[in-house]
Symmetry: C2
Subunit: 313 residues, 2 copies
C-alpha cells in the first residue's frame, strides 16, 4: 500500500513512522496522524461505545506522544450502523469530547456516515519544530533501550475475555483497566522528547516485540534485551490460566506505552524527565536482530505482533 504513494518534497516524515510530518511554515512542521477504530476488530466484548470512542482517541494520541508531539486539533469521521440508538451515538460523541479534553485538544470538524459496523476514524494535527520530533530511526549502537511501563496486562485481559470466557467484572482490576481504559503517555512523551536524552521512540500499540523490531529496522541496528518487562497482573494471570507470561508481554499489543532508546550517558537526564518511570530493558547493538540474552542463553525475539481479534457476535 505505502509503496504506491512515493514521497514528495513537502514530506519530512512519510509512511513508516508513528506519524507523518510536512513542512508548514519556515522550520515549523505540521505533524499528522490518522488511526481508524473498527468495531468488529478493535472493540473488545463489554466495552461501551463511550469507551470505544475514548480508545480511538488514545490510539491516535499515543502515536503523537511517542514523537513528543501534542495534539493541536482533531477531526473525526464516523461510520455508524443504522441500528445504533441516538443515545449510543451521543455516548460516542461524549467519549470523543471527554478524551480530547483529557489530552487538551479540540475536535474541530468531522463527517458522519451510515455503515454496517462502528467505524471511528480520527485524524490529528500537531505543530512543532523539526528539531523537536523524535523518530523511530535515531537509535545508535550503545544506546539504552527502555520502556515506560511493564507489558502484558491488556493481552491478559483480552485473553481472559476472548479465550477464557470471563465476564468484564471477573477480570482483575488492572487487566480491566488496561483493556477498557488505556491511557496515552502524552506528558511523558513530550517531556522525554524535550529532554534531548532520547534518540528514538515508538508507541507500543502493536506489541513490544514489533515495536522493538520497528526501532531496529528504522534505525538499522540490533537490540539486545536482558529482560522482558512483564506486569505483575499479567504474571498472575499467566500463572492461573497457563499462559506464557513473556508471550503476553511481547506479542500482546493494545498497550499504549512508550519504547525508547536513550543516549548512553543520558539515562539520568531521561529518568529525571520521566520522573524515574523508565525501565531499562537492554541495549542497542550492531546488526539487525532483536535478541533476549540471559547469562549464556540467547533467544531471538520473533517479528510478530498483535493480530486484531474479531469480536464474537
Amino acid at each position: 500500500m505505502e509503496r504506491a504513494f512515493g514521497t514528495s518534497p513537502r514530506t519530512t516524515v512519510g509512511f513508516g513512522d508513528d506519524i507523518s510530518a510536512v513542512k508548514a511554515f519556515k522550520d515549523r512542521l505540521a505533524v499528522l496522524k490518522t488511526d481508524m477504530l473498527v468495531g468488529s476488530t478493535d472493540i473488545p466484548p463489554g466495552m461501551s461505545t463511550y469507551l470505544a470512542a475514548r480508545k480511538a482517541v488514545v490510539a491516535n494520541v499515543s502515536d503523537l506522544a511517542a514523537k513528543g508531539a501534542r495534539p493541536y486539533a482533531g477531526l473525526v469521521a464516523l461510520g455508524l450502523p443504522a441500528s445504533l440508538t441516538k443515545r449510543e451515538i451521543q455516548r460516542i460523541a461524549y467519549g470523543l469530547r471527554d478524551s480530547a479534553k483529557e489530552y487538551r485538544f479540540p475536535f474541530v470538524g468531522g463527517d458522519t456516515n451510515e455503515a454496517d459496523d462502528i467505524v471511528i476514524s480520527i485524524a490529528l494535527l500537531a505543530l512543532m519544530s523539526k528539531g523537536e520530533i523524535v523518530l523511530r530511526s535515531g537509535a545508535k549502537v550503545g544506546d539504552i533501550v527502555a520502556v515506560s511501563d511493564n507489558f502484558g496486562s491488556a493481552a491478559a485481559g483480552l485473553r481472559g475475555l476472548l479465550e477464557r470466557g470471563l465476564r468484564p467484572n471477573q477480570l482483575p482490576r488492572e487487566l480491566a483497566q488496561a483493556v477498557y481504559r488505556p491511557r496515552a503517555q502524552l506528558d511523558l512523551g513530550v517531556r522525554l522528547a524535550s529532554s534531548g536524552a532520547i534518540t528514538a521512540s515508538i508507541d507500543s500499540s502493536d506489541g513490544l516485540a514489533l515495536s522493538l523490531h520497528e526501532l531496529s529496522k528504522m534505525s538499522r541496528v540490533g537490540i539486545q534485551l536482558d529482560q522482558i518487562p512483564v506486569s505483575e497482573a499479567a504474571l498472575r494471570f499467566a500463572g492461573k490460566y497457563g499462559y506464557e507470561p513473556t508471550d503476553l508481554a511481547l506479542y500482546g499489543g493494545e498497550e499504549y506505552h512508550l519504547v525508547v532508546t536513550i543516549g548512553r550517558k543520558k539515562l539520568a537526564v531521561a529518568q529525571r524527565a520521566a520522573e524515574e518511570r523508565l525501565k531499562p530493558i537492554g541495549v542497542v547493538t550492531r546488526g539487525h536482530d532483536v535478541v533476549l540474552t540471559q547469562g549464556n542463553r540467547h533467544m531471538k525475539i520473533a517479528r510478530k505482533g498483535w493480530e486484531h481479534f474479531r469480536r464474537r457476535r
Copy 2:
C-alpha cells in the same frame, strides 16, 4: 453530534462549514477536512475500487475547493474486507495516488484495518491565510447567486442504475461520467477565492437545494432563484424515463460543483476568474427562505438533500 464538542480559542472555523480551520502560525491557518466513503452507501453499482478511491479524494478536495484552499497533504485510513484481493487493494492505492496527483498533493501517511465493508476515510490539510478563505457565511443581500455547472446528471445516472436497472454501459456518456468520474473544481475555487469577488461559497455534494439552504442559514439571508440549472443530459433522461428534471437538479446530490454568491458589482470580475463558466441563477434577499420566482409564481425550495443510497448486494 457537533454540539457535543463546543468550540475552542484555536478554532477559526469549526463544525458547520465545508472545512475546519485552526490558527497555526501568526495569521496562517491550518485548514482541515475529513470525509469518509463507505462502500454500501457511497459506491454505486459498477464502480471499480480504483474509481471509488478516486471519488473519496474528490469529495474531500471539493470541500477545500469551495473555500479556495489547495490540499497540501493527505492522510488515508482504510477499512478493507478480508475478502478483497491484493489486486483490488492495490487498485484502491492507485486510485488514491492518481487522484492525489490530479489535485497535486501527496498522501503522507495512513492506517489500514480489516472491516466488513470498504471504508476510505481521508483527511486533508491545507495551509492559507485567514483573509483568503471563503466561508458559507459571507453572503449579503443583493449579491448574485451563481453555480459552476448545471445539475442533475449524477442524480439521473444513479436513478438509471438503481431504479431503472440500467447497466453502466447503458448510461449516456455524460451521466456515466458524472456518476463514475466526478471532478472537484479545485482550480476554479482557488481562482474565485483569490478574485475577491465572491462573498460565500459551498460545495454542492449534498445537492443544490441543501447547498442553497446552507448558504442561507449560515449567512442569515434568503435566496431568490430565477431558474433551476438543469443539465441537458438530465433533461433528456427525465423526459425519457418520466422524472421531474428540477427534482434531479435540486435534490440529487453527488455532484461536486460550486455554489457561490458574488458581490453585486463583481460579476464581471468573478466571470473573468472563472473563465466565464459561472451561471447566475438568482439573488440574495432578506429573510431566510429559498424561493424560485418565475413571473408571478413563487415556489419554496424544500430543505432536503441527497440521501445516500444503499447498494443492492
